[in-house]
């Protein structure tokens, strides 16, 4: 299943989301710079989670109040990554 990328406002939020996901049993979350194609420049961070963690990701965000700006599904295309906006 393709990875999910959740774009957030600050690295603090990204870290908290990844830790909450880990607590809920959703392993493999990674904090990364938001890919340039999705970012307007400057410092922006995202959490990448395995595809099966989409539901836990949304649950963590709604339960904790950690704001997610946008969620994308990542897929490979032409040797690179393409991001399809989910919400």
């Amino acid at each position: 299943m393709a990875d999910i990328l959740a774009q957030v406002g600050a690295i603090t939020t990204a870290n908290r989301i990844s830790r909450e996901l880990e607590k809920s049993g959703c392993l493999g979350a990674r904090v990364v710079h938001t890919p340039a194609v999705l970012s307007s420049g400057g410092c922006s961070y995202s959490v990448i989670v395995p595809g099966e963690c989409l539901a836990p990701l949304i649950k963590v965000s709604s339960e904790t109040g950690f704001k997610i700006k946008k969620i994308y599904r990542e897929r490979a295309e032409g040797g690179g990554s393409v991001y399809d906006e989910i919400s």
């Binding site: 406002g9 600050a10 690295i11 603090t12 870290n15 830790r19 904090v31 400057g42 410092c43 961070y45």
Partner: protein, 375 residues
């Protein structure tokens, strides 16, 4: 052996695990937290978040992201006070407050100082009377850094809220060594030091802002977030996190916060030492003890030997008995004025986490020796 009894200034003795954490993270995590997604930056962010979570548990704060880490309580008080006030606003402070509250109020210009009684207490009714229609903020210290009196901050907070003002608690002397329940108290802002009752490293402190409190940034700069904008992020904690943080110290503060399981127990133990010491002093001729003799006080005692410069006694205790205390005004001149020690200041003995009854007896005996030697 040296006896350290200046814990109201800072807890100079730290748990070994705090020292070890500081050392370890200085080696591993001396990096800029949240500036980049490399492993060291992420380790730093993770450590800082863990410290926020530990403190949130200790202070009963629901959302750890409402805690910002700052170099000390003075920074927190300045950023909280000046950030909560808008042009035209009035602020109420009290005579028992430290200069880290009084000076920002004086800098702001539009302020009222509520007097305190000779017992070191502020009457919440007087606070209510001082609140004007344009009062936006009431600030009060939780426990006096001069004589240890614990104010009725719950009533003062209620008075502020009834008049539509925010309430800011100065918890410099209480965080970690007194029960502090942010939710129960309902304070809008809480400034705390990390290096006193919380037993963290020097250079640590912080500010809690309740979820509905909006602050204006006082210090702006790099936060590692919204970097494309010329304006400071408006969300906590980034709004207060400009510049490089002392990451190892904040992570070690988290270790310290985990050690403190029951602040009320610490409070009761330190207060017992203070009350026993006060009883010893009151049995000595020519000793004046300031503030309350009741139970609403912590482990800090202020006194003078009649006709003696407090600095002379401080030096005597250090040189002759290797006991560290502090003489002077303790940066709270109005508190001294209220207590009756406004002309000279006082000698302050402040018991802390590591203080023992042996320390209490040693300082009592040393004051007694001083009286015998100088009479």
């Amino acid at each position: 052996m040296m006896r350290y009894l200046d814990n109201a200034a800072t807890s100079a003795q730290k748990p070994l695990s705090v020292i070890a954490k500081m050392w370890k993270e200085t080696l591993l995590t001396s990096v800029n937290a949240g500036r980049g997604a490399h492993r060291k930056s992420l380790r730093a962010v993770n450590g800082i978040n863990k410290t926020a979570e530990s403190l949130a548990r200790l202070f009963n704060i629901a959302d750890p992201s409402r805690i910002a880490f700052l170099p000390n309580a003075t920074y927190a008080l300045n950023l909280g006070m000046l950030g909560a006030l808008s042009p035209g606003d009035h602020v109420v402070v009290t005579a028992m407050d430290h200069n880290s509250v009084l000076r920002p109020a004086a800098l702001w210009g539009n302020y009222t100082i509520v007097p305190a009684g000779p017992d070191g207490f502020v009457d919440p009714g007087q606070v209510e009377k001082a609140i004007l229609p344009e009062t936006a903020l009431v600030v009060c210290t939780h426990a006096s850094n001069v004589c240890g009196t614990v104010q009725d901050v719950k009533k003062i907070c209620e008075a502020a809220h009834e008049c539509g003002a925010l309430f800011m608690l100065d918890a410099a002397q209480s965080a970690g060594c007194m029960e502090l329940d942010a939710e129960d108290l309902g304070a809008d802002l809480i400034a705390f030091s990390g290096h006193k009752g919380l037993l963290g490293p020097l250079g640590t402190g912080g500010l809690y802002a309740a979820p509905d409190v909006e602050l204006r940034p006082v210090i702006t700069g790099g936060t590692g977030s919204l970097s494309e904008s010329l304006y400071q992020p408006d969300f906590m904690p980034d709004i207060l996190h400009s510049g490089t943080m002392n990451t190892p110290a904040v992570m070690a503060l988290g270790t310290a916060a985990e050690i403190i399981e029951n602040p009320e127990e610490i409070f009761v133990r330190e207060r017992a030492l203070a009350k026993d010491f006060e009883a010893d002093l009151k049995n000595m001729d020519g000793v004046i003890v300031y503030g309350t003799d009741g139970d609403n006080r912590n482990g800090t005692v202020s006194f003078n030997v009649d006709g003696t410069d407090p600095a002379v006694l401080e030096e005597y205790l250090d040189r002759q008995h290797r006991i560290i205390v502090r003489a002077g005004y303790h940066c709270a001149p109005l508190a001294h004025k209220a207590l009756g020690s406004g002309k000279t200041g006082s000698v302050r003995v402040s018991f802390g986490y590591f203080s023992t009854d042996s320390d209490r007896m040693a300082v009592s005996d040393a004051v007694y020796d001083f009286l015998n030697a100088h009479r």
